[in-house]
Subunit: 193 residues, 2 copies
DNA sequence: CGCGACGTTGATTTGCCTCAACGATTGTGG
DNA sequence: CCACAATCGTTGAGGCAAATCAACGTCGCG
């Protein structure tokens, strides 16, 4: 993956960009290297950026009242990461974003991005469609949480995100599914039979 | 609530519209009356519309493998309703949308709405911000599902949607929370003590 | 009036959690 | 580069939250 994948990601939303527009976009983003275990965002800070993952893997999580991590989302190559709730409201984030591998991202501040919308209005459409798709994905996750038991949710995860399976620990997957690592282990051992 | 609330809803996203733009918008939407128990969308159909609720209440739900209803979302006055997943992909919806009360909506087809984006480009921004907020709300729901037990989820629902509480049956609330109606009843009786 | 949907309560079952123990793997400092 | 610690994956025993099943009174409505 490289910087150009950002433009691919944009144009996959059904919009064609001129070379000049592409240049403006590239100059608005900053390439940033993030080492494993480093944080892009810590709970309590305001999320004033968005990032596009070129290489690597991130988790977005919050802590429950017992202090256990609840993973909300994983982002790998070609995905976006930010805390939209904090980004929208300018209030402190309840989530943290941490690199699970040495990673490389394209980073843009909220301020810079708002300016970009003025320069390239068609970006509004691109991000509208992108956000619509994210809504659909989040709705799907809620439907699964309402309809499936732990075993079925794990099977859906395996089917939907086979590449993620290999890059994550069981603890991380269990936290994403909302079950204990011990119970996930039992699900896996039953599945092999 | 009346038609003008649609414009209020738009302008609350930080954009001001001219009178001419408002007129164009009004003429693009159709006022539709929907009787209690009637369907706006049935599972298996493609969702080629969006609707804004002026009066009344709707539920969006799907059926699990046992045939039980799982309510994904309620929409009352001043909210939007559609199945974004089907709307985006043009594939058959897995959800159904049904009126819980005699209702009145502003209805627009996908085709008409795409034309509206061409006529009034600033609508792209309005809908982008609207969709961003929806994403944040969906993320919040996922966090709750991951972090809270049934009692805490119910208390959050009461706090967040007090007006909905009075208009829904316990069965509907239980289905939304993903618990059985019997258990919800037990939660409620404990709470009164 | 009578039927069906609703809300409640109790008895029983079950899916998943918690705690504890263990080997295997990974990481790290000397 | 090795020794030791930390993290990880697994398994078993026991416990709890919530589901299921069943019964019953109430209410609204045709």
């Amino acid at each position: 993956m490289n910087k150009a994948s950002l433009i691919d990601n944009y144009e996959r939303k059904g919009v064609t960009l001129s070379q000049k527009e592409k240049d403006i976009i590239f100059s608005a983003f900053k390439t940033v290297h993030v080492k494993k275990k480093e944080y892009l965002l810590k709970a309590g800070e305001v999320c004033d950026f968005e990032a596009f993952v070129i290489q690597g893997c991130f988790k977005k999580y919050c802590l429950d009242d017992k202090g256990d991590e609840r993973i909300i989302h994983f982002s790998i190559e070609d995905w976006w990461i930010a805390d939209l709730e904090s980004y929208n409201t300018n209030e402190p984030s309840r989530t943290s974003i941490q690199a699970l591998e040495d990673s490389e991202i394209l980073y843009i501040t909220k301020e810079r991005k708002e300016a970009l919308y003025e320069e390239i209005p068609i970006l509004e459409r691109i991000y509208r469609r992108m956000t619509q798709q994210e809504c659909a994905a989040l709705q799907r996750r809620i439907i699964n949480k309402l309809s499936l038991n732990a075993t079925e949710e794990y099977e859906y995860f395996c089917m939907r995100y086979p590449t993620l399976l290999q890059r994550l620990t069981n603890i991380q997957i269990a936290s994403y599914l909302g079950i204990s690592q011990e119970f996930l282990s039992k699900i896996r051992s039953k599945k092999k039979l």
